[in-house]
Symmetry: C2
């Protein structure tokens, strides 16, 4: 059972990803504004530039399909705005780790859905969503933050566990499921690898997932 | 008397512009988060992508000079953070018009300072800071916002006049002046064209400067 068997149609895929990247950009802007360090601001800026590049290219794909980007994104607005409120965090540390963990999970998720799109679009999406490298700029910033204030590690570990629940729910709402009950059985196994990757991200920061 | 006769050294020019573009990115992120329209979010995202592109290229110029970007930006942090607090605005309309007017003025200002840099850097900066076109994405959004709620026009006109004072002060602090009193006389005429451009931006929105 591959995640790509549950890929929604191109408009839904691109509309959700288009709005998600806007939400990610807003979260990164908020993180930059509260960053206690210059390196934090700059690294967050670098990630935001990459996120906005994905956003622009997703919008270009919608236009190439003769679809209006704003109209394609609109149906996913309230769900993603709600997700944003639940996951944005209360301070620099929580906001920063949310940016890293939720976008890590969700971009990975959209990468794995891409093979279910029409062939040429699938190929372009794989190119647009290059999987994150080992040297993600936010990892260094998070490690430095945790080193400076080790007492925050347990709070961030708890926050990271809470985030994964909300993130899986929003990912699940993207899938093309025949029925809710049917979906529940079919979906859980396909999240296994995504959850394992989340656990590796937490481990990499020295946090218990 | 040309503005370029008052251009600071390359490190100061690039450090200030590097931090300014980060502040602009944060303001755009905040604007996107409070945008009442999908078109607003998307247009703000497009401007932020361009701003972060300038930021990355400015940082690359600092690295090419064997300078540490964070260290080069640090001296301008508190002044620009204070400028940001004074100009960020209280709602979508004020934040949006601040993004448009303050960045319009300050990027124009850095364009006019560029010829005072060493030759090759001057040429590259002219390329990096392409002057804003007539079709700035925020202009359409602002016009639509003002059309929808015409009663905000007088508040925005007042806000726009207040912004120009803070913006000129921060621009002035960038200049390489021999003494404060000397500076005052020499500087005022060189701001004339920048102020005229500000007035044209206000006029273009139907606001009295």
């Amino acid at each position: 059972m591959e995640l790509a068997e549950l890929t929604p149609d191109s408009e839904a895929y691109l509309g959700q990803l288009g709005y998600l990247t806007l939400v990610m950009f807003e979260n990164l802007g908020r993180a930059a504004a509260v960053s206690p360090t210059m390196s934090g601001k700059s690294r967050v800026g670098r990630v935001a530039a990459g996120t906005l590049d994905v956003h622009e290219r997703v919008l270009a794909e919608l236009r190439a399909l003769k679809l209006d980007p704003a109209a394609a994104m609109e149906p996913y607005r309230s769900g993603l705005d709600d997700f944003q409120r639940r996951t944005q965090g209360d301070d620099w540390y929580e906001t920063l780790i949310s940016c890293y963990l939720t976008s890590g999970f969700l971009l990975d998720f959209f990468v794995r859905l891409a093979p279910g799109l029409p062939d040429k679009l699938a190929k372009r999406m794989a190119e647009i969503l290059r999987p994150e490298g080992e040297d993600h700029p936010l990892v260094d910033e998070l490690r430095e933050s945790i080193d400076r204030t080790p007492q925050i590690a347990s709070r961030l570990a708890m926050w990271g566990r809470r985030l994964i629940g909300d993130t899986m729910l929003i990912a699940r709402s993207t899938l093309n499921l025949e029925s809710q009950s049917d979906g529940k059985e079919r979906v859980e196994p396909v999240f296994t690898e995504l959850i394992a990757a989340h656990t590796r991200r937490m481990d990499g920061l020295g946090l218990t997932a």
